[in-house]
């Protein structure tokens, strides 16, 4: 059952040192900035963070990396024009990187949530990122065996939550939130607003409440708040 808490700090309670934490967002769209700031305040160290990127500028994940809380980043695109905190730790050898093609990242997260033991994909075949991985030819095409990616916690940013924990998202801020919610033992969502049960049309629920453990309302959307300092890195 979903718990509604009143502060981001309460929302991230109990995340221990060494936890694997998925963090939603593609760049800043969908990045749960309030939860990340709370995690920074909270103090957990030695984290393994799963995110598409490795932080940018002086916000959210970048600050967590800057504060040496992150032991390892699992992501598809760490290098951005403003990813200086990650760049510095990476070059200094104080942060690990597991680089995963973005589609494999998404599919591995989905597989964890869906109870798939492993899957074969053509993505990455014959490349450095498949080095040492099991391969198989299926219907004349080469595939690589990929495994699910799970987490202890998922921190995501959604738009609306209803009292049953059902979530909607805004535009491309949807990105990794729905799949990360399925792949973590405990999913924590920051949202713009909480509405009564029935306040979201059942046809339009994107993340059913079964996947959501804690919800905290934080206004306004962090994306909107940070619009002014929104850079345009050459990044995917």
């Amino acid at each position: 059952m979903v718990a509604f808490v009143t502060s981001p700090f309460d929302a991230v309670a109990g995340i221990p040192d060494g936890a694997t934490v998925m963090i939603g967002g593609f760049g800043e769209a969908g990045q749960p900035v309030a939860l990340i700031e709370a995690l920074l305040e909270h103090g957990a160290r030695d984290l393994v963070v799963v995110n598409n990127n490795a932080g940018s500028a002086e916000v959210g994940l970048a600050l967590l990396i800057a504060a040496d809380r992150v032991r390892k980043v699992v992501c598809s695109f760490p290098r951005q024009s403003d990813s200086w905190h990650f760049d510095e730790k990476y070059r200094a050898g104080t942060i690990e990187l597991e680089l995963v093609p973005q589609g494999n990242l998404a599919e591995r997260i989905r597989a964890a949530g869906a109870g798939i033991g492993a899957f074969y994909t053509p993505t990455g075949y014959g490349t450095l990122l498949a080095a040492g991985k099991e391969t198989r030819e299926i219907d004349g095409r080469h595939h690589v065996l990929e495994h699910p990616l799970r987490a202890d916690f998922a921190l995501i940013r959604a738009h609306l939550a209803d009292e049953r924990g059902n979530l909607t998202y805004r535009r491309t801020a949807r990105n990794f939130g729905p799949i990360m919610a399925t792949a973590a033992t405990t999913t924590i969502a920051e949202v713009t607003r909480v509405v009564p049960a029935g306040g979201i049309d059942p046809e339009n629920v994107v993340t059913p409440g079964i996947y959501v453990d804690r919800v905290v309302a934080v206004e306004p959307a962090s994306g909107a708040r940070d619009a002014a300092r929104h850079g345009r890195g050459a990044a995917t």
Partner: protein, 227 residues
């Protein structure tokens, strides 16, 4: 080509010219993903009557032009993290659904930049391989193998004057045997055959002869220019 030789020091197409050449070859009604960087510029040359629908792998079909002014919404960005707009009939979906769309072979055309392309269609565009460079792959490996056709846009020569269309890639690969067409400033190349017997046909040349292109690349090019 009006864009050819538009500056005295350049020969062949400029960036806009390459983008226009790609746009002309995208069939009407296609679903297309334009990679970050140079390929993004192709969108400027797609006309409404072409009815091309743009996919952005961060979760949208029906992407419109770059957003400006009050239209900027930090929750609506493209794969390059640039604020964009939404066209009527757009749709949003999460990352697994977005990459399923790409990896499942539903996109008609994907346009990517490249460090190198081999005659067999191998693509290298994600990593220089240099130790000091931080590797970043994004969706490149999924895009390379997922679309029905993968087009590459690049200059034919690198800054040192070496051809980027090569017998075999020396940069780390993004995908094996995945590129169908290569659009460059000096020519358009169509890759065919299979890994054992690949063929490269020049279908258009800009301020260059096929013989010159053979010299520049050191490759056995078929002449399909009809000249």
């Amino acid at each position: 080509m009006s864009e050819a030789g538009s500056t005295t020091s350049r020969r062949g197409l400029d960036r806009a010219g390459i983008a226009r050449a790609v746009a002309r070859d995208i069939p009407r009604g296609s679903y297309v993903n334009l990679g970050i960087g140079l390929p993004t510029t192709v969108s400027a040359y797609l006309r409404p009557q072409d009815e091309v629908t743009l996919h952005t792998e961060n979760g949208m079909l029906g992407m419109g032009p770059e957003a400006t002014g009050d239209d900027v919404d930090p929750d609506l960005i493209n794969a390059g993290k640039v604020p964009v707009t939404e066209l009527p009939g757009a749709s949003y979906f999460h990352h697994a659904d977005s990459f399923a769309m790409m990896r499942g072979g539903h996109l008609d055309v994907c346009v990517l930049g490249a460090y190198q392309v081999s005659v067999a269609g191998d693509l290298a565009n994600w990593h220089t391989g240099r130790a000091q460079d931080i590797p970043a792959v994004g969706g490149a490996m999924d895009l390379a193998i997922g679309a029905k056709q993968t087009f590459v846009m690049m200059t034919l020569l690198d800054r040192q004057g070496h051809a980027k269309l090569v017998q075999a890639c020396t940069y780390p690969l993004t995908g094996v045997g995945c590129v169908r067409r290569v659009y460059t400033d000096l020519a358009v190349f169509v890759l065919a055959g299979d890994a054992q017997a690949p063929t490269v046909t020049v279908t258009a040349a800009f301020d260059a002869t096929v013989e010159e292109l053979r010299e520049l690349t050191g490759l056995s090019l078929l002449d399909g220019t009809g000249s």
